[in-house]
Amino acid sequence: MSRAFKPKVVTANALLEGDAVWLTIDDRWTRDIAEAELMTDEAHADLRLLEALSRQSEIAGAYLADAAAGANGPQPTHFREAFRTRGPSNYAHGKQVDL
């Protein structure tokens, strides 16, 4: 029996700025994971990743990351992905101040 599919978001780094972005249901790249499309179907997630990978002039390094439904939208489930939504812990730099 295959393992249950964990919900996913498509994430990448913006081509010019290099910061973390997430793919929305209406095909935008957002800086706020809460606006991302949360995908519960594996085949759909794989398709969305392929679509994201074709947008080479906007992003780099797209991949599927685990996420969970929160009150305001998708939330990261792993600490690495949580750091990507905020920025480093040693300075108030990155999304924690830019957003």
Partner: protein, 556 residues
């Protein structure tokens, strides 16, 4: 110091122009990320968790004031006003935007610097003893050789696609401050029976996933044979090194799997074949380079003011006790500027601090600065009579922390605060340990102790050779920190031993505190360092300090 000639200048300018075109083609969509990635890595540009990162080489750790000011300018103009000095004598900018990177590289070229081969499967920045040219225990300044190696390895057509990255370190001193035994090639200057200087050639050292202490390939290599011999080593590795598995691709694995003898035979054969093709041009070039590293005109003057200042100012005295090293010239000292203020990020300097260090070097330090692999900045040549003024200027720039070689002088890689490869954070652990021991006011009593922290198994933070090493891992989605003990990165290089199960982020600092305060009770007297006590006693008593509850359970 070496100054770029017309060839160097044209070469780096040409590279900047090439990369500018590559960036434009990436942005307009004519290059995919897969096509662009090897090109950007060849020029030191990474893509990390929150942004791009530009890694700039500081060849053999040497900078002048103009170059340091330019690093500050780049930090202000295109980054967030600071830079991060690394364990490979590089500086990293954590926030550049892709469009700006060609301009940053052009600004580096303006002062004879570059980011070429700071990444990728090539020969990386050649590192050297940060006290080179100043140390009292030195045979010769190794930087001329390091510069020759830089020129030879830069864009070397045979070595642009090695099985894996390749790191060379060189020292001219007895005391190994360049971790030569943990490099792909380590070069230690020694003298032969006739008293002539040459090199002990060490090969196959490295940390990372499979830590190995380098093995001696040649006891004594004449200086004139250095370039063909290094070329023979890299050439043998290029053919023999594994390309099927990146975890087995470093030369340490090649040496381990094939045996030192076979490598020795292959290298000597290759050396014999190529040596005649080195007809003396390299030696002529070396002679020119050597003149660039002639010692400065050391001043002869009284040091009376220094002694008086030591007596008058306890804070200055404490700083001179920890942050100075013996210089070869009478009346001179080597100053280590701590980039490890308690609670700050190890290795991070603001642009203002970079400018302050440049000013001090220009005024009091014969215009020389060094970056150490321990992530500090060195003023290699300061006359004792200038030390009070240097200390005052450092204090004004918040750079006068008196902790070199102590518990808070921690090496830490960027870890998961920046690095895409990291499995856990390093910086906050270093900050918390330093802050805790500062609060305990114990670090001077504890004495020499090297803590080194890596945020993943790749070991950029040299944790295997820390007296106390800390390795951050991801254990089932939670940050977890493993401790190794007894590591040593000097001429007696030793890989630390794992103490036992890891600790959570909340428990690691108390564990280190138990370990270090417990050592104070274990040592024979104040002269026995942590490492010496560990070597005398072995793991057992330290393990008891780290895991007290388990020990009680065993006793019950």
């Amino acid at each position: 110091m070496y100054v770029y000639n017309d060839f160097d200048e044209a070469f780096v300018r040409n590279r900047v122009a090439q990369f500018r075109g590559q960036v434009e083609r990436r942005i307009d969509g004519s290059l995919t990320e897969d096509e662009f990635k090897p090109l950007r890595l060849m020029n030191g540009l990474y893509l990390q968790l929150h942004a791009y990162m530009l890694r700039v080489a500081v060849p053999y750790g040497t900078l002048n004031a103009v170059q340091m000011r330019q690093l500050a300018y780049i930090a202000d103009r295109w980054d967030k006003g600071y830079g991060h000095f690394t364990t490979r004598q590089n500086i990293q900018y954590n926030w550049p935007e892709l469009r700006d990177v060609p301009d940053m590289l052009a600004a580096l070229a303006d002062v004879g610097m570059h980011a070429i081969q700071t990444s990728g499967n090539t020969i990386r920045n050649v590192t050297a003893d940060h006290f080179a040219g100043a140390a009292a225990d030195e045979i010769e300044d190794p930087r001329a050789i390091a510069e020759l190696l830089r020129q030879w390895s830069t864009d070397h057509p045979e070595f642009q696609f090695l099985p894996r990255k390749f790191k060379i370190a060189v020292t001219g001193a007895t005391e190994d401050r360049a971790v030569t035994r943990a490099h792909d090639i380590g070069l230690r200057m020694v003298r032969n029976a006739a008293g002539e200087p040459g090199f002990e050639v060490i090969v196959g050292g490295g940390l990372g996933r499979t830590p190995m202490v380098g093995k001696v390939l040649r006891d004594f290599l004449p200086k004139a044979d250095l370039l063909p011999y290094c070329e023979a080593i890299v050439s043998v590795y290029n053919l023999l090194g594994r390309r099927d598995n990146k975890y087995k691709a470093r030369i340490k694995i090649t040496v381990h799997e094939n045996g030192l003898e076979k490598i020795q035979t292959l290298v000597e054969d290759r050396f014999a074949a190529i040596r005649p093709t080195f007809t003396g041009h390299d030696q002529a070039l070396l002679a020119v380079i050597e003149t660039a590293f002639a010692p400065p005109a050391f001043a002869v003057k009284s040091s009376d003011g220094y002694q008086a200042a030591r007596l008058a100012n306890p804070a200055f005295r404490s700083w001179t006790d920890t942050n100075l090293a013996a210089h070869k010239a009478p009346g001179y000292a080597i100053v280590s500027i701590s980039i490890k203020k308690h609670g700050a990020t190890p290795g991070d300097a603001t642009s203002d601090q970079m400018r302050a260090m440049a000013d001090i070097a220009e005024r009091y330090g014969h215009n020389e600065l060094r970056i150490s692999h321990e992530q500090n900045v060195i003023l290699p040549h300061v006359h004792q009579s200038d030390l009070p003024a240097v200390y005052a200027a450092l204090r004004a720039a918040d750079l006068a922390t008196a902790n070199i070689g102590l518990v808070s002088d921690i090496i830490a890689c960027p870890g998961m605060d920046y690095c895409a490869l990291a499995t856990a954070r390093s910086i906050p652990i270093a900050q918390d340990i330093a802050t805790r021991f500062d609060a305990l006011k114990l670090e001077h009593e504890i004495g020499p102790l090297k803590i080194k922290i890596s945020g993943c198994i790749n070991a950029c933070g040299h944790h295997h050779v820390g007296h106390i090493g800390i390795l951050g891992l991801d254990r089932a989605g939670v940050e977890n920190y493993q401790i190794t003990l007894g590591g040593d990165g000097t001429q007696t290089t030793t890989i630390g031993e794992r103490a036992g199960p890891g600790f959570s982020a909340a428990d690691i600092v108390p564990a280190i505190e138990r370990l270090v305060t417990g050592y104070l009770d274990l040592r024979t007297d104040a002269n026995e360092t942590f490492l010496q006590a560990y070597r005398r006693l072995g793991m057992a008593p330290f393990k008891t300090l780290l895991y007290p509850a388990e020990d009680q359970a065993d006793a019950a």
